[in-house]
Assembly symmetry: C2
C-alpha cells in the first residue's frame, strides 16, 4: 500500500473561553500501517459543534479534555478505505469520533454508527440523522415528555438541535415556540421549521413577547442556552413543567462561575423538573432515533439546514462563529465528495 499523508487539525494552546482559529494548527503526519483488527476511514465530512468549547476546556466536563498537541476531537463521517477488520469492510460508511483530520485509523471503538441510510446524503449523519437528531429525539422524548396540547419552548430554535426539537414537538400536537437571535433566524423558525411562534431574544421586551407567545404558560422548555433566555422562561413555567438542559450556549465562560436568579422557588411552587441531557448516555439506542427520524427526512416532514464549509483549513475558525450566532444551519466541513 502506498504511504498516505494525513493533514490534521491539532489543538495548539488551551483556550479559556470560546476556541478561536489561533488555538489550533494544521500539521501533516503519515498514516501508519494497518494492524490486524484496524481499519482506515477517509473522512468526508467533519462536524463543528458548540460542545467543542467544553471538550477543549480544562474544567470538569463529561469527557476528558482534548490535550494540547492532540488532534481535535470531532464527529466525522467517512468511508472505510482500507481494512483489516472483518466488521468494517472497505466501502463501509461510518460516523464516529474520528477527529478533525483527513484520515482516521481505528479499531472500531471510536465508531458510533454504521450508516445504513445510504440513499440520503452522508452529511446528514452528522446532523439531523446524527448526534443533533439523536439529541433532539431523546432529549425531548425522555426528559421533556411532551403531551399533545402542551406548549414547548425551545432556545436556539433555528439551530441544529432546536430546529428538530420544534418539529418533533409539533408533530406530537404541541404548540411550539422558538427563541432565536435575529429576524433571519426568526423567519427560518416560522417558515422552514414550522414553529407556531418565534421570538427574537434580542428584543427589549422578551418577557412580554414570551407571555404573548405562550398564553397557556410553558410546559416543556428545551434549553440550549441558559442565561437571560432561561431567566425569562422560568417564571412562566406551568405546574409540572419539564426543563431539559441540553446546552449552555449563552455562557461564554464558567470561570468565574456566572450568577443568575435562583431556580429553586420556581421548581418548588410549580413542582417542576430540570434535568441535564447528554446524547452519549443513549448510545445503545441511537438506531431507535434514526429509525424514527430518517423516514421523516425522506418524506420531507422533517426539515433541516446545513452550512457546509470547504476544506480542512476552514475548521480552526469554525467554532467561534457558532457562539456569535452567525451560522444558519448545521455547520460542517467538507473534505471530499467521495
Amino acid at each position: 500500500m502506498p504511504t498516505l499523508s494525513n493533514r490534521q487539525v491539532v489543538l495548539s494552546s488551551r483556550p479559556s473561553g470560546i476556541p478561536q482559529a489561533g488555538h489550533f494548527e494544521i500539521r501533516t503526519s503519515t498514516v501508519p500501517e494497518l494492524q490486524d483488527g484496524q481499519f482506515l476511514v477517509k473522512n468526508l465530512f467533519l462536524s463543528v459543534e458548540p460542545a467543542m468549547r467544553g471538550w477543549v476546556n480544562a474544567a470538569a466536563n463529561y469527557s476528558r479534555p482534548v490535550e494540547v498537541g492532540e488532534v481535535m476531537r470531532a464527529f466525522s463521517a467517512g468511508r472505510v478505505l482500507r481494512s483489516r477488520h472483518p466488521g468494517y469492510p472497505e466501502g463501509t460508511l461510518v460516523m464516529g469520533v474520528l477527529g478533525w483530520q483527513e484520515y482516521a485509523l481505528t479499531d472500531g471503538r471510536t465508531i458510533r454508527r454504521r450508516i445504513l441510510e445510504a440513499d440520503l446524503p452522508l452529511s446528514l449523519s452528522l446532523g439531523v440523522l446524527g448526534l443533533n437528531g439523536i439529541t433532539a429525539y431523546f432529549g425531548l422524548k425522555e426528559l421533556g415528555e411532551p403531551r399533545a396540547g402542551e406548549t414547548v419552548v425551545v432556545s436556539t430554535a433555528a439551530g441544529a438541535v432546536g430546529s428538530i426539537v420544534g418539529q418533533l414537538a409539533r408533530k406530537l400536537g404541541c404548540r411550539t415556540v422558538g427563541i432565536t437571535g435575529g429576524e433571519t433566524k426568526r423567519r427560518l423558525c416560522l417558515d422552514l421549521f414550522n414553529f407556531d411562534a418565534a421570538i427574537d431574544y434580542r428584543q427589549p421586551e422578551l418577557d412580554a413577547a414570551l407571555r404573548q407567545a405562550c398564553p397557556g404558560g410553558v410546559d416543556v422548555y428545551f434549553d440550549n442556552t441558559s442565561g437571560h433566555i432561561s431567566d425569562t422562561v422560568l417564571p412562566q413555567i406551568n405546574r409540572r413543567a419539564r426543563i431539559v438542559i441540553c446546552g449552555t450556549a449563552s455562557v461564554s465562560n464558567w470561570d468565574p462561575w456566572p450568577q443568575g436568579p435562583r431556580v429553586e422557588r420556581h421548581l418548588l411552587t410549580k413542582r417542576a423538573r430540570m434535568a441535564g441531557f447528554l446524547a452519549f448516555d443513549y448510545e445503545d439506542r441511537y438506531e431507535e432515533a434514526i429509525a424514527h427520524l430518517a423516514p421523516l427526512v425522506r418524506s420531507g416532514e422533517l426539515r433541516y439546514r446545513e452550512e457546509i464549509l470547504d476544506g480542512l483549513e476552514a475548521a480552526p475558525g469554525s467554532i467561534a462563529d457558532l457562539y456569535e450566532g452567525r451560522n444558519l444551519g448545521k455547520r460542517l466541513i467538507r473534505l471530499a465528495d467521495d
Copy 2:
C-alpha cells in the same frame, strides 16, 4: 347546644418577609349553629410550619395567600365535638386545614385525614405521622429514588422533615449526611437521628467538610434550604444525582429575587435532575406513607422530636423562630389535653 366562643389567631397585616408576632392578633368569635352536613372540631394541637411564610405572603405560591382579617391557615389535629355529618361522628380524631383557632366548623372538605393510629400521641399526626412524615416519605421515595450504597445529603437535617428523610434513607442502606446549624443540632443528627455524618453549615470550611463526609460524592440531595448550602452541595453531585427541592428556608425574601451560582452546568455535565416536591400532590396516597411510618414509630426505629408550646397566645410569635433555627424538633401549639 350552648353557644361556644372561639378564640382565633387572625392575620392583621401582611408581612413582606418572615411573619412576626405583630402580624397577627387574637380575636374572639362565636361558633355558629351546625348545619346539616357540618361538624365542629375542637382543635387540640396546632401546627407551626416554615411553609406559613409562603402562605401569608402575597407573591405567587402553590396556594392562595391568607387574607388580612382571615384566621391563619394551619394544620390542626382535634376531636369532633358536635356533628351533623354521618361520616364524622362525635369523637372522631381528625387532622386538616383547621386553622389557628380553638374550634373549626367544617363540612369535611378541610379534613386531610381521619386519625386511625389512636394508640399513638395525637400530636404525631401533625409531625412524623403528618405532613412532615408524608413529605419525607414521598419526597425521598418518588423524587430522590435512593438506592442502597448511595450517599444522601439532607439540609435542615435536624428538622421535622430532614430528620425523617435521613432515617428513612439509612434504613434503605444509604450513607446519610446531615447539614444543620450549630453543635446542638449536629449532635441530635448523629445521636438521635442516626446520620452517618453531620455537618454544621456555619463553619468556614463547609465545602471541605462536605467533601470529607461524602468521599463518594452526592447521589441524592434533599434540599430544604436553597442558598449557600445548596451552592456547596451542587458542585459535589455525582452523575445522575437527584436533587429534591422541598423548601427554601435559607431565603428570607424573594423580592428582590435572590441570585446564586447557575445550576445548569452541573445538571448538564452530571445529567442530574432537580425537581420540586409538594406533599399536597400526594393527597390520595397519604395512608400509604402513614402505613409505612407508623410501625417504625411504634418499634422505636423512627425517632422524632417535638417542641410543644402551650396556649393559643404562643402561636403568633411561633413562626419567626423556625427561621432563626432556634427550635429543636417539630413545633406545635397545644390547646388542650383532650
